[in-house]
Amino acid sequence: MTGSEAQITVSDLDMGYGDFILMRDLNFTVRKGDIFIIMGGSGCGKSTLMKILIGLKKPSRGQVVYGDVNFWEADPQEREQIMRHFGILYQSGALWSSMTLAENIALPLEQYTSLDRRQIGKIVSFKLALVGLAGFEEFYPSEISGGMKKRAALARAMALDPDILFFDEPSAGLDPVSARLLDDLILELKESLGTTFVVVTHELASIFAIGNNSVYLDVDTRTMTASGDPRKLLAESSDPKVRNFLTRGEESAHAQVL
């Protein structure tokens, strides 16, 4: 497998809203260069887990450790320091609607680098070209299609060449070809920059195409029931729910017919 250095370590994590516990006892490690998939049925807490990992929501219990820093116990400055190395692609894209695509992508660069306008402009154009949106600099988010918004948001997430890229349902709302291109782009970035990816998805094709590590959240038992390489899970797991998920329910449907 790729590098063995642990980049994110989650231990004994419980998450929930108020008194309601959504998932408990989560333990997993994301290594440097992993494409880590968070999978599970609808409503199992995949997006909530991601919110905890990116610092938007406090866990009810347990730890998230980046390198050797305990993320939620660190002081705000230290946490911000870690968050500077994140790139995040939100489910809805979350482009700032009052700014053009170029301004959207330029904002992180203006925040954290001392580059001048011209250099920033060049980087912005390059990132847009990378996601197939060359020439769309002056468009507002409301003027482009849903798929294009997603790609522009990806360009923004990559603006600062982050160490870890978080994707919340990247292929939702994309046509099959664009979804495939996105997968290729992820693999390309991983190979060329060594970026670590944490991807929330339930697109099976993507999971098998890009994932080399994963965690499966089970909505009934409210905990993780499997982890590891998804292809290996498909070949070896004996958990019926995990198998059911990874085979699109084909196995159990087959069993029912018999």
Partner: protein, 400 residues
């Protein structure tokens, strides 16, 4: 496999007590077999769609409950001419009841499609605890809940005020992080674009004040003092209050809707994770825009109000325009003007903060944006009235 019997095969020996119960059923659509056997055949005939009058399952269920030997239910639908979901709900209710009574239900006699849909509907059992508890809360727990909610929202408001103050302090030290182009846009939106409505309202308020005053003052033959009344009222309070209320409805609501929509689209999350403070980036330029523009709008409103008074003075009271204006000038002093300007700047802060607070607090749905907007206007107007009262009282105590 069970073969559904034709309607002629249904046993004819029907107990007399059954007759009376069956009287309640729509007789022509359903008939029950022999209840004394351990197998009951329910024959369903005719059309069972939601447009037809079909029998109610309760009547069948009450019959089933009274039969002690019964073990199995079968259906005969050879006479059925049509069915839809209402037929399925009827069947589903009966089979649910049967499973409570440990009666087995053989679905072989049903139409193929109905059989499959019934199986599909019962494939995934109801999730435990999924149903919302609809129990009514007691008065005390509701009162307690509301109190806790109120305390929490007050704390949130104070928190927001504190953060806004720190953001302002950072701005004054020149370190705030926002885009000047945003500020320019908000200045334009809350300034020049608000002029038409401010003109209309202030002119009318001036007219109304003058009318009311004229009727009273004419009784003493002191019409000329209408100029004093309108001038002082507009400059000292009404100009500021009217622009405040207009801006709360116009700009405060739009701020709440803008920020609320950003909250729904995860745009505020995207700022936070980037390490950009929404308070500086989003709230500060809006607040500055209103604090700068409100006093200017207020001056404009004062002028328009005095113009309204002048119109009444000239056309209704037959006063000379220059006399009216001189009288107005004599009645005003700079203190009045300063109080009005100060009040309107305070209203600028109030309107901007109420709008932004409600926007940032907004939930993640379309209806939440609507609530945030309403709440921003209500909070804004209430705060304006309370602030006016406080300022008026303070001026009175201070003797200015």
């Amino acid at each position: 496999m069970y073969k559904p019997p034709g309607s002629s095969d249904i046993p004819k020996k029907v107990m007399s007590e059954m007759e009376s119960i069956r009287g309640g059923l729509a007789k022509d659509k359903i008939s029950l077999g022999n209840l004394a056997d351990d197998v009951l055949v329910i024959s369903l005939t005719g059309s069972w769609t939601s447009e037809d009058q079909s029998p109610n399952e309760h009547e069948v269920i009450s019959v089933l409950g009274s039969a002690s030997r019964l073990r199995t239910i079968r259906f005969d639908t050879s006479g059925l001419t049509g069915w839809d979901s209402s037929f399925l709900t009827f069947l589903a209710e009966i089979s649910k009841y049967c499973s409570q009574l440990n009666l087995s239900v053989e679905t072989d006699g049903l139409p193929e499609g109905a059989k499959r849909l019934l199986k599909l509907a019962s494939a995934v059992p109801e999730r435990q605890g999924a149903r919302k508890d609809s129990r009514k809360e007691s008065f005390f727990s509701r009162a307690g809940g509301r109190t806790l909610q109120f305390v929490a929202s007050s704390a949130e408001m104070l928190d927001f005020l504190g953060e806004a103050a720190t953001a302002l302090a950072r701005f004054l030290r020149g370190r705030a992080n926002f885009r000047m182009s945003d500020l320019a846009l908000f200045l334009q939106e809350s300034g020049s674009q608000a002029l038409p409505i401010v003109s209309l309202i202030s002119l009318l308020v001036g007219l109304i004040l003058a009318f009311v005053g004229a009727v009273q003052l004419a009784a003493f033959g002191a019409q000329i003092y209408v100029a004093d009344l309108v001038g002082v009222a507009m400059v000292r309070v009404m100009g500021a209050v009217m622009t405040g209320i207009i801006m709360a409805g116009r700009t405060g609501a739009s701020y709440a809707a803008q920020l609320g929509t950003m909250q729904v689209n995860e745009e505020i999350d995207a700022l936070k994770t980037l390490g950009v403070s929404p308070m500086e980036f989003l709230v500060l330029p809006r607040m500055l825009a209103l604090v700068i523009m409100m006093p200017l709008l207020c001056v404009y409103a004062d002028v328009m109000g005095i113009l309204g008074g002048l119109i009444v003075g000239v056309f209704m009271l037959d006063l000379n325009p220059s006399v009216y204006l001189n009288q107005t000038k004599a009645s005003l002093n700079l203190t009045n003007v300063w109080i009005g300007l100060f009040t309107s700047a305070v209203f600028g802060v109030i309107v901007a903060l109420a709008g932004c607070l409600r926007g940032i607090q907004c939930g993640r749905s379309a209806s939440a944006v609507g609530q945030a907007t309403t709440s921003a206007v209500v909070t804004g107007i209430i705060s304006i009235v309370v602030a006016t009262a406080i300022i008026t009282l303070a001026c009175n105590v201070l003797g200015i």
